[in-house]
Assembly symmetry: C2
Homo-oligomer: 211 residues x 2
DNA sequence: CTTAATTCGATATTTAATTATCGACTTTAT
DNA sequence: ATAAAGTCGATAATTAAATATCGAATTAAG
C-alpha cells in the first residue's frame, strides 16, 4: 500500500525529526504541532496535517503527541529501520566526508564500499573498503546494490553513472555539478549546493534591500 | 527593486544552469524551453515561465534563446558575479570538503577562512587559512563576513551559531544535523542530507511496489 | 513561394498546497 | 465545580504553482 505524500511534506519530515530529537534531550515527553511549528517558523496547521499523514496514534487535546512515538512513526515512514545498501564512486574529499558521515546509518543507508580510479590497493576508510573502480561493475552486480552515489569530478560523472546503471543500480545520487542523462525510469537525484546558496543569497539580498 | 520569484523557481535556476553548460559544451548556440525541459523531465511551460522571469532579452520563435546569454542572465540573477564572503567553522572531513570545493567560486561565494577547535597553529587548506576558533569572533567582526557555515559536531553547533551571530553574521548555513534556535530575523538554512534521502528512498519504494 | 514544424509569450484553467475556521475534547488553574 | 487555555481533527476557503490553450512569429523544408 502506497501512502501518498507530497514531496514537500516528505522533505519536512526529517526536519521535524531533528526538532523532536531536541525536544527529547530537553526532557519533553509530549509536544504539539504548534511547538514544532514555532521552532521551524512555519504554520502549525501545516505541521498538524503532515503529522496526521504518518502518525499511528491520535493526538491528545491540550497535550499533543508523544515525542518518542512520533519519532518512531516518522522514522518508520521514512524507512530508517530497513537498511538500504549503497556504494560510492569517487573517494576524494567529498567522498571521504560522506563515507565518514555517521548520519547515514541513522537514515537507513549503509555505504558498503567505495571505488576510486586512483586506487590499486584495497584500503579502508572508517572500515569501509575502497576498491579500484575497475572492479566496480562486478562487485555491484554481485551485491545487488540499490543506490549509487557519485562523487567523481564532473567530466567522469556520466561514464560512472552509465556503469552503475549497467551494474543494476536503481537510484543515482549525484554530487557532481553536471547533468546526467539517464533512461526515463531511472531515479536520479542531483545534489546541488548552488540550490541552497540560491535560496540563502536571495534572502540576503531581500534583507539588504529592506533597509 | 526586488524581483519576486518563488523559492521553487529559484531552486530550478541552478539546475537550468547545469544543463545550459552542457549545451554549450555540445556546441549549441540556441536552445528552447522544451530542450531544457526534456533534459530535466519537467514541463516546458514551467521552464518557459521561469526563464521569462529572469531573461533580459526575448526568445526567438522556432529557435529559442541564446545559450550563453541565458547563462549570463541566470548567473546575474543568482548573484554569481558579486562575491559574498563566508567563513566556515569546523574543519573536519566535511569542512575540508567544502573548503576544497571549487564550485563555490562559481557561485559567487568565497570561503575566506576556517576555524577549528583543535587548531592552535595557523595552517591552510587550499590556500584558505585555518585559525583557532578562539579568534573567530574578532576576525569575523573585523572582516564583516556575511555568511557563516557550520560544520562542527552537533553538540557544538548551537554555541558556534550564537558566536557567529554575535560577530555580526547575517546568514547561517548549517550542516550539523541539529536544529538551531535563532532570533526571528536571522537567515538560517539547514542542509540536511536526510531530506534528499527521503526523496530518493520514497521513489525507490514506489518503484518497488509497482512491480 | 508555400507549408509544416517550432517556439514564444500572454491569458486562462486546473491542480496542489497552504492557511483559516469551527466544534469537540482534555488538561490545568481558579 | 467551573472556567480558561490549548489542542486535535475535519472541512472550507484561499493562495500559489503547475499546466493547458491559443495566436503570432520565425525558421526550415519541400
Amino acid at each position: 500500500m502506497i501512502k501518498e505524500i507530497s514531496e514537500q511534506s516528505l522533505r519536512r519530515l526529517p526536519q521535524y525529526l531533528i526538532i523532536l530529537q531536541k525536544f527529547l534531550t530537553e526532557g519533553r515527553l509530549y509536544c504539539s504541532a504548534s511547538h514544532i511549528a514555532d521552532a521551524m517558523q512555519i504554520s502549525a496547521i501545516q505541521v498538524r496535517k503532515d503529522l496526521a499523514k504518518i502518525a499511528t496514534d491520535e493526538g491528545v487535546p491540550n497535550q499533543g503527541r508523544k515525542v518518542n512515538q512520533l519519532i518512531r512513526d516518522i522514522e518508520t515512514f521514512l524507512g530508517y529501520n530497513t537498511v538500504s545498501e549503497a556504494v560510492i564512486v569517487g573517494v576524494g574529499m567529498l567522498g571521504r566526508a560522506l563515507i565518514s558521515y555517521k548520519g547515514f546509518h541513522d537514515y537507513g543507508v549503509k555505504i558498503i564500499m567505495g571505488f576510486d580510479a586512483a586506487t590499486q590497493d584495497i584500503f579502508t576508510i572508517n572500515k569501509t573498503p575502497i576498491y579500484s573502480v575497475k572492479v566496480m561493475p562486478n562487485l555491484v552486480k554481485r551485491m545487488r546494490v540499490k543506490i549509487g552515489i557519485i562523487t567523481v569530478p564532473k567530466d567522469q560523472a556520466q561514464a560512472v553513472c552509465n556503469q552503475l546503471l549497467d551494474a543494476g543500480v536503481q537510484a543515482i545520487w549525484n554530487f557532481a555539478p553536471v547533468h546526467l542523462d539517464v533512461p526515463e525510469h531511472v531515479i536520479v537525484h542531483h545534489e546541488n549546493m548552488a540550490e541552497s546558496l540560491a535560496v540563502i543569497s536571495n534572502k540576503l539580498k531581500k534583507q539588504g534591500e529592506k533597509s
